[in-house]
Symmetry: C2
Subunit: 263 residues, 2 copies
Amino acid sequence: MSMKNELKTIDKNSAIPAYYQLAKIFEESICQGELKPEEALPPEHNIAAQYEISRMTVRQAIAELVAAGLVYTMKGKGTYVAKPAIDNVAFELRDFYTEIRKRGLVPAINLLQARILKADEELASKLSVPPGTRCLFYRFTLSAEGEHLAYETKYVVYAKQKPFLEVELKDPSLSNLVAAYGDKMPVTCKRILQAAMITPQEAGILEVPADTPVFLVEQTLYDLDKKPVGWGKSVYRGDRCKLTSYEGWHKEDFYSGMVRHEQ
Amino acid sequence: MSMKNELKTIDKNSAIPAYYQLAKIFEESICQGELKPEEALPPEHNIAAQYEISRMTVRQAIAELVAAGLVYTMKGKGTYVAKPAIDNVAFELRDFYTEIRKRGLVPAINLLQARILKADEELASKLSVPPGTRCLFYRFTLSAEGEHLAYETKYVVYAKQKPFLEVELKDPSLSNLVAAYGDKMPVTCKRILQAAMITPQEAGILEVPADTPVFLVEQTLYDLDKKPVGWGKSVYRGDRCKLTSYEGWHKEDFYSGMVRHEQ
DNA sequence: CAGTGGTCTAGACCACGGA
DNA sequence: CCGTGGTCTAGACCACTGC
């Protein structure tokens, strides 16, 4: 008989939910290497019996582990420890404005242009509207600590007869602009990230050398009917911006439950 | 009394699980705009009564919606429709080798160097080993359709006295190399993405102009004890590589359950 | 206080996988 | 066939929210 860690038990009088305690026990076993990838967990029925809890509670614990990517289940077979997934990464990029604040810096927005214009051929195709459609046009730089970091151009299908106030540039994210000036709520966002050379014009505006590498982000917002409602292009200084990502198992990272929601 | 869509019912004899049918009903309502962001769903008890299913089943449906990001719950208050989250993005980047195949291209690996070397100061610090430690060193380009796309350099703490075979370069991902030649399984991966200018040396190897912008990815693999076990640096042609991301609500995208697991 | 979601139980039947 | 996870029930008590 296996003598591994029959020590751990669940405190049913604890304020911490039983399913959470159980999930932590398995998380510990997996991260300590006591349970190795591809190894099977005991059947849910056995776990329930051993810890004297109901099977539904066991299932809730396993659901947490599945969500955290630590185990996977196969109907009719069992529950197995997963291999760490480290061969795909997701680089997170918030709206740059948010990104700067997260780093504890104070971002400044320098409005360069803002007006209504009639869409030319290119913009009309980007926004799927007839050429000549009235659009809102914003152009500004973002800077922190006296240094220009990004240069953004944004277009919104102009629907509301609302005067545009610089005040709204307190949060110049495209979704915010669309919400303020568009007629439909944006629900989908497509972004394309490229590495590129800065253009002479951009170099002048950002006050950086002409050979600065940049991140180029093109952004399109769509409404529920998949109709484009906003389009933007941003240039981020490559010498000041890095995207970092962590993937795989990080101990003490799996509290998907018990989080406060802030909306 | 509200007369919205009391039409929809749940077919308990269907092969489709009740919780899934219910989740789809709410997903439909939300995506059609019948339920607007910040609007509350009926209490779980009411839903259960209306559709004549148990509350646990209702909760499972809501759990799906929460996982899909369509709603959020607040203890003691209720369940509310979420605003689409489109202000942060995650750019996915698989191992480049996988990425090329996904596009239907046939990647070719051109091994440039492969040998055991003793770590110099810089590599030793990257891998947290004493200078002079024996490391495996790989350097190769990836190409598709006769064009060089990336240039990669990888180092692995050499533990196994295993001859390195070019055959293993069929999958030259760093995690694969570490698994083959290291002593610990890699479980965490840190990647840093930068925009940069190509160096003259790299330009020569990739046979591209000297002013080509590139993505620079630095990758470190760690074992369970957070000890680095592999390190690599990759250069991707900026004129050939884009990273794309979609965020927010996309109708018919929320089947988090009922997926086949392939491991 | 009443109403809400969060947790939990002790059963049940099913579909699937493998012997 | 048996054992597995997947689904489901009809209750229960709790902690939290807001009045």
